[in-house]
């Protein structure tokens, strides 16, 4: 399920991110200078234990760039990539605000809810 929420950053500009966008922003932020397509994908797959398709990743990167939450540039080609360049990703201030607001919203909405207890009660 794609959870889309409307958030407002410090400039009162409406921003919308979904859970997958949040995952990308968080992974890119963690990777810092080393954030690029394959590394972000590996981070997401490791965190969620689910497959992250190239199609979903690259179309979402474009969407985030259009919203001004990330900036991308082509890096240098490397031999292990068959001489092909990386698409390097940098999270912008707007991206940090949006991800932070998403995290806050998740924390607020989750307050007082214990999923572990509910899971135990059902089983």
């Amino acid at each position: 399920m794609l959870l889309d929420i409307y958030l407002y950053n410090n400039h009162n500009v409406a921003l919308m991110i979904g859970e997958f966008e949040y995952l990308i922003l968080t992974a890119a932020s963690r990777l810092g200078e080393d954030a690029y397509g394959a590394a972000i994908r590996a981070e997401i797959e490791s965190a969620t234990a689910e497959r992250c398709s190239i199609g979903a990743l690259y179309t979402t990167l474009d969407r985030l760039e259009k919203k001004g939450m990330i900036k991308t540039r082509m890096g240098d080609p490397t031999p292990e990539r068959g001489g092909r360049a990386k698409r390097m990703v940098r999270v912008t201030a707007a991206g940090v605000n949006a991800a932070s607001a998403f995290y806050e919203a998740m924390m607020k909405v989750s307050r007082g809810v214990s999923w572990q207890e509910k899971t135990r009660a059902r089983s």
């Binding site: 690029y36 397509g37 394959a38 994908r41 590996a42 398709s53 190239i54 199609g55 979903a56 690259y58 179309t59 082509m74 080609p77 490397t78 292990e80 990539r81 068959g82 092909r84 360049a85 990386k86 698409r87």
Partner: protein, 301 residues
């Protein structure tokens, strides 16, 4: 499958922007995935990109304003050309022998029919190439969606719309006079000429030139100001010429007496008949330009 899969993946990635193609293929190579997996990942991305493009209004306007009319005209013209030329082709291929080669009448007929056959194929290819250029120039921002749209339209127009149109024309107006190419019963009964040959003509003389026309439009868009303006004017004039010439396809529906009076005026409207062959001059000029200036270093893709 791995090498073949990778080859296919690289080919499919050609539908992506150069930078994206580079980054995605690099990511897949770095991940060490097999050819089949790489192909499915690339196809998934291409599909998403195409879907995104078609969520916009621009490709739809282009589709109905340019691609569909061009596809219809080219497909009808292609079927007519294939029908007429199949008569000559059958005549020469199925009756060729030493007796015929010694017949002076055969050589006379060959001399008069070959220019007609070659001319009609060349004209069809030039029409298609011009249509591709027009589509390319009209769709600079949606060029990636133009290829599949054009190919699907050409296929549907050729398989469904053109036969329906020609069958109606033949049924209502021309069948009694038995002057339609499809009415050449001995030839149209031969499976090759009935089924395969028209598709070959459509593929070689329409689909391939129009796709190359779109590809060439990207190069033409990068020409300097005056040259680009000249190309745009040529595309506009040649498209107008094609439109005027193809009007006869639609005027066939009006009564013969009226059409008889209109056709001379249409011919008069078309003094630049030779303009339809402009792609030949353009391609030769571009080849000459490259030879004089030396090869252009292709951008990495």
């Amino acid at each position: 499958m791995n090498d073949l899969g990778w080859d296919l993946a690289v080919t499919a990635a050609g539908a992506l922007d150069a930078d994206e193609k580079n980054a995605v293929l690099g990511d897949l190579a770095e991940s060490g995935v097999g050819g089949a997996k790489a192909l499915s990942e690339i196809c998934g991305l291409v599909l998403r990109r195409q879907t995104e493009l078609w969520m916009n209004w621009r490709p739809w306007v282009l589709l109905f304003a340019v691609v569909v009319p061009s596809g219809l005209v080219l497909s009808i013209e292609s079927r007519l050309t294939a029908g007429i030329n199949s008569v000559y082709l059958w005549m020469y291929l199925n009756n060729l022998g030493t007796d015929l080669l010694h017949n002076r009448g055969f050589w006379y007929e060959l001399g008069s029919s070959v220019p007609l056959i070659v001319g009609s194929f060349l004209k069809l290819a030039c029409w298609s190439w011009t249509a591709g250029m027009l589509i390319g120039f009209a769709s600079k921002r949606v060029i990636k969606s133009s290829y599949p749209a054009l190919l699907v339209v050409l296929m549907l127009a050729f398989a469904v719309a053109a036969p329906f149109y020609l069958a109606q024309v033949a049924r209502i107006f021309l069948a009694p006079a038995r002057i339609m190419p499809e009415m050449n019963d001995p030839i149209s009964q031969v499976p090759f000429y009935r089924s395969l040959y028209p598709w070959l003509v459509q593929f070689v003389m329409v689909a391939v030139p129009s796709v190359y026309g779109i590809r060439h439009s990207r190069g033409a868009a990068k020409l300097s100001g005056p040259l680009k303006a000249a190309v745009v004017i040529l595309i506009a004039l040649a498209s107008a010429e094609i439109f005027v010439e193809s009007i006869r396809l639609w005027f066939i529906w009006i009564p013969h007496t009226i059409a008889h009076n209109i056709f001379p005026y249409l011919a008069a409207l078309s003094p630049l008949h030779w303009l339809v062959y402009w792609p030949v001059a353009y391609l030769l000029a571009m080849k000459l330009r490259r030879t004089v200036r030396g090869p252009v270093v292709a951008s990495q893709s």
